[in-house]
């Protein structure tokens, strides 16, 4: 545990000085890449919470990511136009308003979708979550006011008090702080009474019912929490990219989140960070190398799934174990 804390502290320090190092060495693209990794880490971790800890294989997690994305976009749109949404909801470009709103709206959507989808399980659950996400995708594409297929441009990003988040370095630190807070919160949830019950439901739902646990309500609560996490990530993404796009709701985005979780190691706490990093780094460099980067990505995913027990985290652990047992 102590080792873990030192490791985490070291990682946070490294991430804190990264923009300075990047500026000094001229690797400015690194800041943007790391920002995106941190945002996707939040989204992937929220998916991992229901998938790895709760045993719910959702193939529509991008729905909540996209809703968070659009909440920021739409609030900004009405702020810029000066016309309230539906005549009474004023727009905003204040991060402290847009971010919580995005989280709450995504949570509400998760409540509605989850309350229906969780009546099924297995393949049906996968298909229903996918269907809901695609419905939302086409819904947002059809909103011509908000750019249809083109999405909403958040030209001025958001402000945090007087600080404009158009500045990529400022936004980088905001994302870093939010990510650290998010993972601290997630750590609490995973180890809470609720987290323990959720883990029990994943292992054996029948046994939990036989102990007087109505699993539906617990799963729904977990589903809502995960939706809120994805909404948070989507909102950050809109501010960071200064753009809300229907692509964030597309089923391929749900697939990417799943790949990140699997790459990192399903049901491991820090796995989603590794998974998001591995995915985005591979995507960036493979795409620079060949336009058929997805083929290479597929082969790597295949190797990870077949060759390691538990993704990147599993690989990491087994290497660490080998190093430790190696006689010197």
């Amino acid at each position: 545990m102590r080792q873990h804390l030192i490791f985490i502290a070291a990682a946070i320090v490294c991430l804190s000085v990264l923009p300075l190092v990047a500026e000094a060495t001229g690797q400015l693209a690194l800041v943007g890449l790391t920002s995106r990794i941190m945002i996707y880490a939040i989204a992937a971790a929220s998916l991992n919470f229901i998938l790895g800890y709760g045993g719910m294989v959702s193939f529509g997690h991008a729905a909540f990511f996209g809703i968070g994305n659009y909440v920021v976009g739409i609030l900004y749109f009405h702020h810029a136009e000066g016309v309230p949404l539906w005549g009474f909801i004023p727009g905003s470009n204040q991060l402290l308003i847009t971010l919580p709103t995005a989280v709450l709206v995504a949570g509400f959507a998760a409540l509605v979708i989850g309350s229906l989808a969780l009546r099924t399980r297995g393949v049906q659950f996968i298909m229903i979550t996918l269907a809901f996400a695609q419905m939302l995708y086409f819904f947002f594409v059809s909103l011509k006011t908000y750019g249809g297929e083109d999405g909403v441009i958040v030209r001025g990003a958001n402000d945090l008090f007087a600080l404009s988040l158009r500045d990529k370095t400022a936004m980088y630190y905001v994302i870093l702080v939010v990510m650290v807070l998010f993972f601290a919160f997630l750590w609490r949830v995973v180890h809470s009474s609720f987290g323990t019950v959720l883990s029990g439901i994943r292992q054996n739902e029948r046994r939990m019912t036989a102990m007087g646990i109505s699993s539906y309500r617990y799963k729904l609560y977990g589903f809502v929490l995960a939706g809120m996490g994805a909404g948070l990530a989507g909102a950050l993404m809109a501010v960071f990219m200064r753009f809300a796009s229907p692509d964030t709701l597309h089923w391929t985005k749900s697939g990417e989140l799943l790949i990140m979780v699997i790459l990192g190691g399903v049901g491991t706490f820090f796995g989603p960070i590794l998974g998001a990093a591995a995915f985005l780094i591979l995507q960036t460099y493979l795409a620079a190398w060949t336009e058929h980067w997805q083929l290479a990505m597929g082969l790597i995913l295949l190797g990870i799934v077949l060759g390691t027990k538990g993704g990147a985290k599993g690989l990491f652990d087994s290497i660490a174990r080998k190093l430790r047992t190696e006689p010197r």
């Binding site: 609490r188 949830v189 180890h191 809470s192 009474s193 609720f194 987290g195 323990t196 019950v197 883990s199 029990g200 292992q203 054996n204 029948r206 046994r207 939990m208 019912t209 036989a210 102990m211 007087g212 646990i213 109505s214 699993s215 617990y218 609560y221 929490l225």
Partner: protein, 251 residues
Amino acid sequence: MNTILAIDDLVKRFAGLTATDHVSLNVATGHIHALIGPNGAGKSTLINLLCGELIPNEGRITLLGEDITACPAAERMKRGLARTFQITNLLNDFTVQQNISLAVQARQGNNFRILDTARGRVSILTEVDELLAASRLEPRRDVVAGNLSSGERKQLELMMALAGRPKLLLLDEPMAGLGRLESQQMIETLRGLRGKVSMLLIEHDMEAVYALADRISVLVYGRVILTGTADDIRASDEVRDAYLGLEDELC
């Protein structure tokens, strides 16, 4: 004599098959009531009806004077029911200690809290330590449930059921798959619970049934053909024909 569980005219039909055919049965408070019958007689169906995993087509189930026929499964457990499974159902990634902890936690409630620490709930830990100290599983407390022997799994499942402090325990073949010594130990354990909790015991092992049961009901083709004491069962020709005779032939 108080009745803890009353089953009235219970019927469960599957397509083309009446698995439970107008079953009426009373379990008296404090009794160990055994339910025996040949394979396919509908014993497990009856347990699943009592637990709420299946919904009956007709009839009524009354637990502690309250009608629970339409009650959801989890709710019945809160009202004093607990069960074990014919094939054990455990949390296979958790250790023995964690399995029992979660059973105690489920009973104590407050399980929607997301910002507490499950391991910090001292009242649970003390209770689990006490339960473990009084059991044969104490030396195995940190073993993951998936790695236990089948006898240990049966014991653990019984402990988890008891951790819910039930009034009525439904035991679906607790001796199945156990060796001779383990069966003896299980009989001892169940005997030790007599008076503390009422039981409905489904069992094939007639030695165990005769050693434990106050009352025995015989189920054949979904119907109760006789309820009585061990002597009544031994004396009945009908039971011998329907059940014991059948077993002789198999031997």
